[in-house]
């Protein structure tokens, strides 16, 4: 039952990810990715990570991708125009690389998927899905990382501000 839901959501995610890549209109691409991420959030819930799922929606769908849309609207970027100069090497080599890479990656993941070590201190499904347990870990064992990320976010904030600011006319 749950596997059915998962596979359905996963197929949806893959489908819209594909649409995102194929589409010519950047706005449509962003929207496809929103749907894809939404489906992924559903997958996350089924993988016992409801908090991450909600964060996925809030941060990715609700903030990052809205920001993309916002920028697209602000810049009013149109559809991709056909490029006059063909770059056959890039395209051919790129396509080849993608195919080889996908084959290798899937092959490798198939091989590792069956070999999972059993952890002694495994947490049960209830514990895994509990946001409070996650929060406790974040604020104890991973406090330093947490603070480091907060500093990083501040730096990114300042950086984005400086980059996107218009040069003020003196």
């Amino acid at each position: 039952m749950e596997r059915l839901f998962f596979d359905a959501a996963a197929l949806l995610a893959i489908l819209f990810a594909g649409l995102m890549v194929v589409g010519r209109d950047p706005v449509k691409s962003v929207l496809s990715l929103v749907v894809s991420f939404f489906a992924l959030a559903a997958c996350y819930v089924l993988l016992l990570a409801p908090l991450i799922a909600v964060l996925q929606v809030i941060v990715y769908a609700g903030a990052i991708l809205v920001l993309f849309l916002f920028v697209l609207m602000l810049l009013n970027v149109g559809r991709e125009q056909p490029d006059g100069a063909r770059r056959p090497i890039q395209t051919v080599l790129g396509s080849l690389a993608v195919v080889v890479f996908a084959g290798l990656l899937l092959g490798m993941l198939r091989a590792t998927g069956t070999r999972i070590p059993i952890l002694t201190e495994a947490v049960g499904p209830e514990g895994l899905a509990d946001p409070a347990a996650l929060a406790r870990l974040l604020f104890s064992d991973y406090l330093l990382h947490f603070e480091a990320v907060s500093v990083l976010l501040l730096a990114a904030l300042v950086g984005a501000f400086v980059l996107a600011r218009r040069e003020e006319a003196p």
């Binding site: 890039q90 080599l93 690389a97 890479f101 290798l104 490798m108």
Partner: protein, 648 residues
């Protein structure tokens, strides 16, 4: 605030003063700077005495106060911890008090020095920093923490000697003090390594306990360790052959000379040797070496002092000479006596230096005693205190120096082996000391003024901020010796000996075979030393005050070679210059011209050229198109994946 104050508060008070004055001093003006600087010194004195008074009155039990773990590497662990025992208590008592007095003095002195606001703040900041380092040195409970203080006082000494860094000779003197001290510090470091290798610890308590319990086990290594430690002490306490920096260090402001180069820092070596008495007593050969070096230094510096004409230089050589006495005492095993002399010396030598500073002020910064004379009438307070301190250093009873110096002489007289010879040299040096000290008193304060008209017009007594410390220290020069009256004055006349006795820990297998000297011998020794001192004194007064220096001039004329040699301080500086400084300078030049310029730079330039050459061709890989980069990146990723999959 809890009472009793924890020991770690003490070093922090002057450190706070340093922080305020160094960070804000230039903005806040002189009066604020002096308030902070002197306030910190006064506060630390009060705080120290709040601990010391109960300690002196109470059980004298050693207190060890750990503060925090400092370094932990594998099974080596050092705490920051402080120790209050009779030895450190004695040091603490005069380091803080004399330090405070000299801070007070410095207000008046530096005001007259036409210092800029920045210079004034810098001066007081460094003085406070020095107090911090000195307290750390004194209160430390481990060799490592002591080394922190040891280096700290060295740094402050360097900074303060070079206070007038815009004058070439002061900067050079600071550099010299630093370099010569480095040699000694290297010895100290080696000694510390040796201690750690032998004992596996650097804490006093543990090291001394192990050494005292199993003397046989550590016997073979201790001479080496003690020798290294003593080399450290030689550097810091200006003993032959590492004494050359101290006379030059007089280039610093006079309060600095008084505080660092007379009363406190230079005695750190003696303190360290006394602190390690357990180790030293297990190395009798090194003890003898210490005694001989001390005795020789005392004589050597005393002879130089005779022929010097710079007031502070004479005092500097006399300091070296007195430090020699202290090491003599330690070398013959009389550690408490050595520490007693450290204490009395701090009082009267600080007084002498401050007096010299006062004279220098009055003389418009002229220190040549040939230009002085008859200052007695113009500067009565300076004269009286200077006289008291002179009598103290000359060893005239009942002044302080008499008792401590006499105790040193009688200890060396009692010592086996070379004892009698050491006593005789010490006695001779005592006479010498009385002579050269009274020579400067006579030339400075008696007779007629020999300086210029302007100087004569300018002569005045110093302000009260300068005379107050003088008076206090002058009084101390009189009474400080009464703490250590010899045994002939009664069973309990000697306070300081029993007080310091616990520091001399008993060693397994070593009997404290001390037989009291017969009273008659003791009286006799005292009489002899008083007689020698008095005759030196009389001679100097007669030659310089009454005759106006005709006899010495005649003597100098009849032995011109000897006189020139002595007046040139035996040309030791020139000798060192030829032996060490020039060869090293030449070597450094060679390394620079050949190794650095040719070899290292050559290799680097060749490498840079190759890189540039490669860049000329490889730069075409940089197409500027992000997608090319991404593609390359992914191709690399594929290679990596192939590698990983292949490994699986």
């Amino acid at each position: 605030m809890t009472f009793p104050l924890p020991l770690w508060v003490l070093p922090l008070i002057p450190l706070a003063g340093f922080a305020v004055n160094s960070l804000l001093g230039t903005r806040l003006g002189k009066s604020f700077v002096s308030a902070v600087g002197v306030g910190a010194a006064g506060l630390v004195t009060l705080a120290a005495y709040s601990r010391l008074l109960p300690f002196f009155g109470g059980s004298h039990a050693t207190v060890i106060e750990p503060v925090a773990n400092w370094i932990t590497i594998a099974n080596f662990s050092i705490d920051i911890s402080f120790r209050l025992d009779p030895l450190s208590a004695l040091m603490l008592s005069f380091v803080t008090f004399v330090g405070f007095l000299i801070h007070v003095y410095a207000i008046g002195y530096m005001h007259g020095d036409h210092a800029t606001d920045a210079g004034y703040a810098r001066f007081f900041a460094y003085l406070n920093l020095f107090l911090f380092a000195m307290l750390t040195l004194v209160l430390a409970e481990s060799f490592l923490l002591m080394f922190v203080g040891w280096e700290g006082v060295g740094l402050c000494s360097y900074l303060l000697v070079g206070y007038y860094f815009d004058r070439e000779y002061a900067a050079a003197a600071g550099r010299k003090a630093f370099v010569v001290n480095r040699i000694g510090d290297y010895g100290f470091l080696l000694g510390m390594f040796g201690i750690f290798a032998a004992f596996g610890s650097l804490n006093y308590t543990e090291v001394f306990r192990k050494a005292a319990e199993q003397p046989a086990q550590f016997g073979p290594v201790l001479p080496v360790i003690c020798l290294c430690l003593f080399i450290g002490a030689m550097g810091k306490s200006a003993q032959v052959p590492l004494y050359v920096w101290l006379p030059d260090a007089m280039a610093g402001p006079t309060p600095v000379s008084a505080l660092i180069h007379a009363a406190t820092m230079v005695t750190a070596g003696v303190y360290m040797v006394a602190r390690c008495n357990v180790l030293f007593r297990l190395a009798p050969d090194v003890m003898l070496f210490v005694a001989v070096i001390g005795c020789f230094t005392a004589l050597f510096a005393g002879t130089i002092a005779i022929a010097q004409n710079d007031l502070k230089k004479v005092l500097a050589y006399s300091t070296i000479s007195q430090l020699g006495y202290m090491f003599l005492a330690c070398g013959v095993g009389a550690f408490p006596v050595g520490m007693f002399h450290v204490m009395t010396h701090a009082c009267f030598k600080a007084c002498l230096f401050l007096g010299a500073g006062s004279v220098m002020h009055s003389m418009s910064d002229d220190l040549d005693i040939r230009h002085m004379g008859g200052l007695k009438a113009k500067m009565p307070i300076t004269y009286l205190t200077f006289l008291a301190a002179t009598l103290a250093i000359a060893g005239i009873p009942p002044f302080a120096g008499f008792f401590s110096k006499d105790a040193i002489l009688s200890s060396s007289f009692e010592a086996p082996g070379l004892g009698k010879l050491l006593w005789f040299i010490g006695l001779f040096t005592a006479g010498l000391t009385a002579f050269y000290m009274f020579r400067i008193v006579s030339l400075t304060f008696y007779g007629d003024f020999r300086g210029t008209k302007e100087q004569a017009h300018h002569l005045h007594e110093s302000p009260s901020s300068m005379t107050f410390p003088l008076i206090v220290l002058g009084l101390l020069s009189v009474v400080a010796g009464w703490l250590g009256l010899p045994a002939v004055f009664g069973e309990h006349a000697n306070v300081i000996g029993p007080f310091l006795a616990p520091v001399i820990a008993p060693i397994a297998g070593h009997e404290a075979a001390h037989e009291a000297m017969p009273h008659a011998t003791e009286w006799l020794l005292m009489a002899v030393s008083v007689a020698v001192a008095a005759s030196g004194l009389y001679l100097a007064y007669n030659w310089y005050a009454k005759e106006g220096g005709r006899t010495p001039a005649r003597l100098a004329a009849s032995y011109p070679g000897v006189y020139a040699l002595v007046a040139d301080k035996y040309r030791i500086d020139e000798l060192y210059d030829a032996l060490f400084v020039r060869p090293f300078a030449w070597l450094a030049r060679a390394l620079w011209k050949v190794v650095d310029v040719l070899v290292i730079d050559g290799v680097l330039n060749a490498a840079a050229f190759l890189v540039e050459l490669a860049g000329d061709f490889l730069r075409f890989l940089q197409t500027g198109n992000v997608r090319n980069y991404a593609l390359t990146f992914f191709l690399g990723l594929i290679a990596l994946l192939v590698f990983v999959v292949g490994a699986m």
